[in-house]
Every structure is written in C-alpha cells, then in structure tokens.
Amino acid sequence: MAKVTIDGHSIEVPDGTTILQAARMLVDNNPEVDAKVAPPTMCYYSKLKTSGGYCRTCVVKVTKGSEKDPRPMPKPVASCRTTVMDGMEVVNITSPEVLEARKGVVEFLLINHPLDCPICDQAGECHLQDLGYEHGLAKTRYDFSRRTFNQIDIGPYIKLHMTRCIMCFRCIKVADQITNNRYQGMLFRGDASEISTYIEKAVDNDFSGNVIDVCPVGALTDRTFRFKSRVWFTKPMDAHRNCTKCSGKAAVWLKGNDVLRVTARKDQWGEAIDWICNECRFEKKDAKDWVIEKPSHIDRHSVISQNHYENLAQLKLDISKQQKQIAGKK
C-alpha cells in the first residue's frame, strides 16, 4: 500500500495505482472532497490497457516524489500514467501552474477543432465541451484556417468526422483489445495525423460500435442516431435484453416510446461499464426489444443531465421518494 496526498487529501492505495486512479478513489470515497481533485481526462480510459498519456489534460505536479526520495518531479506529469509512491504529494487544482498548463492543453485541443457543436451529435455529452467550458479561454487566439478532413462512413453504422478528433487513440485501442481485427489506425504524423482506414474499408465486427462510446468528442458517431435528436431531449434508461454476444446491459435513449439510440452504460467518469455488441447497439431500436430497468444515473454537470436531473442529490431524493411511495402503495 502507498499513501498519497493530492491537493491536501490523503488516501492509501494499492501499489501500482496511478495518481489519477488514486484521485478518483479519493473522490469516490469521500463526499466532502471536491470532484475536481480528480483531473479531467480525454484519452485515458481505465478499461483500455495502455491508454492515456497523450492528451496531457490530466497533468499534475508531484511536489514530493516519495518518502524515500522526496525530491519533486521536475516537470508536470500525466497523472493517468504515473504510479504513486508511498509518501508522494501531488498538487492538482491547488496549483496555479497546473491549471495554467491545463489551460494550455485545452487551447491546443481546440485550435483545430471545428467548434461545430450546434450540428454535432455529441453536443451535450461531449467531454471536450465540458473541458473547454471549465478550463478554456472564452476567446480563441488562433486566427489561421483550421485543419479539415472529409467525413467518412466507416461501414453502415459509424460516421468518422475526423475534423473533430483530438487523437486520444481510444478507438484504436478498442479495435486492438476488444474486437478481432483492426481496420483503422493513426496515419501520417504531427498535426497531419488522422484516424483512418487509409483505403476505404468498412469496419466490420461485432464490437466495433464501442468506438462510438469511447470517443470523447463527436469524431465517431452513431449513424443510426444521426441528427435524430439532441441528446438532452432524450431520456437515458438502463435496460437489458438477452444477448448471446454481450452482457445485453445497455442504456437506451428514449424519446417518447421510441428508442433513438443505444449506448453502453457509463460510470460517473463517463466510461462504459460493459462493452455492448453491435446488434444491441444498432439493431434493437424497438422498446419491446428491451427490459427497461430505471432511469440511467447521470451526474455529469454538462447539458446532458439538465433535462432530467437537477443534480445528483436531487436525483437520489426523487428516487427514494418514489420508492417510498411505491412501498406505501403496496
């Protein structure tokens, strides 16, 4: 076990835990700790091996390396890829330097982003939107033309809108780790890099749709949901079905009684809880296909949650009230 202190809050974590995981544990286990103590992430994904380290959004400063070697680390480190040492002290939101560096990262991520949120299906549940809102500048200092790419359909289900991509590598790792083949990759280099299949190829296998869920922005979107509705006008419900390919546990996004789209259920850090198969995701668009369990628990602060739940406390209250009412009726 190692004791690590982040922004003045201490926690004991198993050896090998990263600073980011430790920070998330802190937040998960201590309601009084500001959720922002856990650094924001754009490329790290706990369920994908070797993810993280690329976007630099989660940088923190290590002010004390460990009990044994108390020297501070000279440069900011990616908290998602740096493991804790016993006695380590880390500053995140209490360090103006870290916040400044993060602001820089956000600006870099945005200079070539099209900012086309009004016509982007990801709007409302976009991590870049949230990040920009919290850490970004109100005004851009970039006055050159932005990098653009053509949109491509990779197969019947997935739209690749490369212009919006922030190069998180998650979709590549999904293809490598949970599907049986990889057709798309990182091509070219530097700011000309792009996710592409190079020659047009349909990404085709049962789990390819998960790239949509892991994409932090609107670069990979669900063609079956394209322009159907703003996400905040749909109601996410936890639902399940008997599926031979995956767990069948998903979130269905309803408008009235129509299933407009199906996604994985997400945890509070926005990560998929269970991968789902393409059949569940793209083919089961009838409410009758699903056993609806309950409203999905969403406590992201972005617009996605605005239509449903004022905040987490309110949600919990409502549910317990309803449960009591139901119990009372019985």
Binding site: G52, G53, Y54, C55, R56, T57, V59, P74, K75, P76, A78, R81, E100, A101, G104, V105, E107, F108, L109, I111, N112, R141, Y142, F144, I166, M167, M186, F188, R189, G190, D191, A192, S193
Partner: protein
C-alpha cells in the same frame, strides 16, 4: 593541439577497412576487454571515465549502464542510436563513414560489458550510403571472427545488425527509436518503464549514441581514470563537434572538452573564423534545440568569464544567459543573418517532425510555424511575439518526450535575445524585402 581519441586516424588511407584499422591499433579494446577483463570491470572503467552521453542529453554513460536490469534468462540488448537528425549535427555520420570499425569495436566491447548477445545499429534512413559502409565493416568483422560465435576464441558470442530508419527525427528519441526498430511508427513511449527495464521487445536495453559507443574503446584502453583527466571538471574526455553555418571551415572537429569557444570559432585549427571576415552575430552551440546565444553571451558568460566548450560552461547562467552543449551541433551565424527567418526554419523543422501523439507538441509546433511564417512574410501582428512566447511556454515541459522542449527552446531564446528583430519585422514589413540584410546573403557561386 588537443587530444584526439576518436577520429585521430580519419585521414589514414583505407582506414575504413578492417585491415588498415587493425594495423592502426583497431580492435585492441575487444582483445583487452574479452581476454583480461570481466564485464563488470568494463562498466567500472566507463563509470570512472565520467563519459557522458554524446547524443545530446549528456547523461553519465556508466550510470545508464548500471541501471540495466539483468533478470535471469531474459535477453538484453544494446542499441546504437545512429539516427542523427538534430539540425546542425553530422558527427556520427562522419565517424561511421570514415572509421566504421570504431563503432563496431565499441559495439562489441560495450555489448560484452552489458552481456548483450545481440545489438542493433539504427541508422537514419537518409544515411543509406553510410549504412552500407557500416554493413560492409560488419561483414569484415564477422569474417575475422570479431563478431559471431566465440569472438577471438573466448566464450563471448555476439551478433550485430544494422537497421535503417525511413525519415523521422523523432526516432532519435530512444523509445521512439525502439518502436521504430520494432517496425512501428516512431512514437515515443510513455516512461516509465525506461528501456533499461523494458526496452526492445520488452527486454532490458541500453540505447547509446554512436560517439558514446566509440568512446568506450579508448576508455578501455587507457583506463577510466586516465580518460577522466582529459577535459575539464565533469566534462571529461573529447567531443566531436559538428561545425556549420557562416564559418570558413565547416566540418567535424574532435576537441578536448574545455576548449574556449572563441578559440574554436576563430582559430585556424577549427572553424577558421567567420566567412568574408564578417562579424559574429549568434551561435547555436549544441544542435537546433538548444537556446541560441548572441555573440556577446557565447564568447563570454554573464560574469564576463570566457565560455568554454563544456557541458557546464555552456549552460552557465541557465537559459537566461546560457545554453547547452547538446549534441555538439555548432551553427554559427554572421551579422547578415536574420534570426527570425532562421528561427522560422527551425519551427518548420519541428512542426514537420512532431509525431502527433501528444496535444501540446502536435498542435503547438504547427501554430508556432504559422505565426513565424506570417512574420517573415511581413504579415506579423504586434501581439504575435507575446503569443509565440506564451505558446512555447505551454509546450515546454508538458509533452511526452523532449521534442516539445526542443521546439520551444529555440523560440524562447530567439525572443529573449533578439526581440527587437521580431518587432522590426512586424512594425516595418516594408523593410523586409528591401534590405538584403534580412535574408541570409551568402550567395552561391553563380547565383
């Protein structure tokens, strides 16, 4: 005349061949190490020598070697970094081209010290003809029993191969080089783990620069203590300096560390002064990524003491008034040089070479190039200088590998020392085209 240990024989006819190389004392270190020393002895001598990595970072080689993990039954590798791509640097090419066996000898001796059965020499793709020379030398070494099974009748067996790159500066970063050697994109790895623990194919690996490896031979021959007497302070031994730019005698020079910078630039033995008797304006002392210094700060430090060609002396004063020895890529600029235009060539370089993995470098290098392009074209805005400063500051230290720093430092130093030139470009764009002085005016014969 300073001591020479690496390229003292460069003018001996036929020195690239095994026969002539051996006649001139070549492969003596292999003989000595394999027959009279234990691997630990060799590591100890390298430690004592104070040899520091000659690729640019200057990390003590002996220490790097001692970090190498040695788990039972796991291969260890030595990889030679011959991906020389730092603008202003061409010493490794010179060494490999002129005396390829000096590298092979170092590879064998070093591999013996590290217990590596296999080594690779990763040569940048553009140096294709150099790779051919090195391969030929390797073939000769195999034929003479210096490589392969039971070298010189000892128990030590070793295979050495050349791998060519295909055009990517980033592969000079050791983990990007290993990725490339594994047949992948040259994306630097996120560290830890360091190569000493998990390098090539996940095995413990040491990556050393060509010159570093070649320096192991004289160290083994003369002993670490003797080697450490050469040079000055913690800058021990000799260093190959690639001299280029506006000087009379561009080329590769082996210097004893501690040589005064002024002597290096002006003496006939080295650069031979500035071309056409012009005045010195600025110097990039250690390859494009180190801070550029104006004449007054490169010849003397801020305390008025003569600056020396050594790791410590060049970095005296920190980045405010100092620079770094880096790879020893010494580029000299005369009074006609536009610092802004020169910086633009660097910014374009780093933009071109950014691998694209991490956001600050991927986006920042392109942004800086665009701004500098606008400035040199006479379209600069008054806010551009501060913007450039801010962008480089947000790249520096925030990237996966040192390429971000390498891209940021030239921008920061040019603004720090030559801000007025940027302002001149921005405030008086009409002068850019009229005054010859704003372009490098060294004309080619017949241009």
């Amino acid at each position: 005349m300073g001591k020479k240990l690496l390229i003292h024989n460069d003018n001996v006819p036929g020195i690239a061949t095994l026969e002539v190389y051996r006649q001139n004392g070549g492969y003596a270190s292999v003989e000595k190490a394999l027959k009279t020393m234990t691997p630990a002895d060799v590591v100890e001598e390298v430690k004592k020598s104070g040899l520091r990595g000659r690729g640019g970072a200057g990390f003590p080689t002996g220490m790097k070697w001692s970090f190498l993990a040695k788990p039972e039954g796991v291969e260890r590798y030595l990889v030679c970094n011959a991906d020389e791509s730092e603008p202003g640097t061409f010493k490794d090419r010179y060494l490999m081209e002129k005396i390829p066996h000096a590298l092979i000898e170092g590879m064998i001796t070093s591999s013996y010290a590290l217990g590596a059965k296999t080594s690779y020499i990763y040569i940048r793709g553009e140096y294709f003809y150099v790779a051919r020379i090195v391969e030929k030398a390797i073939d000769e070494a195999y034929a003479a029993g210096l490589l392969g099974k039971n070298i010189l009748g000892t128990n030590f067996s070793h295979d050495c191969y050349v791998q060519v790159g295909a055009g990517a500066y980033i592969c000079g970063e050791e983990t990007a080089l290993l990725e490339s050697l594994e047949g992948k994109r040259g994306n630097p790895r996120i560290k830890p783990p360091f190569p000493a623990i998990a390098g090539l194919y996940g095995c413990p690996t040491v990556v050393n620069n060509v010159e570093t490896i070649a320096a192991v031979c004289p160290i083994v021959m003369m002993g670490g203590d003797e080697y450490a007497k050469i040079g000055i302070g913690r800058s021990t031994g000799t260093k190959l300096i690639s001299a280029s730019g506006h000087i009379n005698k561009p080329g590769v020079y082996e210097i004893e560390l501690g040589l005064p910078v002024e002597e290096f630039i002006y003496s006939e033995e080295y650069c031979g002064g500035i071309i056409n008797g012009r005045k010195l304006k600025a110097v990039v002392a250690g390859g494009s990524s180190v801070p550029i210094l104006p004449a007054e700060l490169i010849l003397k430090n801020d305390k008025g003491e003569a600056r020396l060609m050594s790791y410590e002396s060049l970095s005296e004063g920190g980045f405010a008034t100092g620079t770094m020895l880096g790879s020893g890529g010494f580029i000299v600029y005369d009074e006609t040089t536009s610092i802004v235009k020169n910086l633009y060539t660097f910014a374009r370089f780093y933009h071109h070479e950014s691998c694209g993995q991490c956001s600050p470098c991927r986006e920042g290098t392109g942004w800086m190039e665009k701004i500098l392009h606008r400035i040199v074209e006479g379209q600069g805005k008054p806010s551009d200088v501060d913007l450039l400063w801010d962008i480089q500051r947000k790249i520096e230290g925030n990237t996966i590998c040192p390429l971000g720093d390498a891209a940021a430092w030239p921008v920061a130093s040019a603004i720090r020392h030559f801000r007025h030139e940027f302002e001149e470009y921005i405030n008086h764009p009409e002068r850019i085209k009229d005054v010859k002085h704003y372009y490098s005016v060294h004309q080619l014969a017949g241009a």
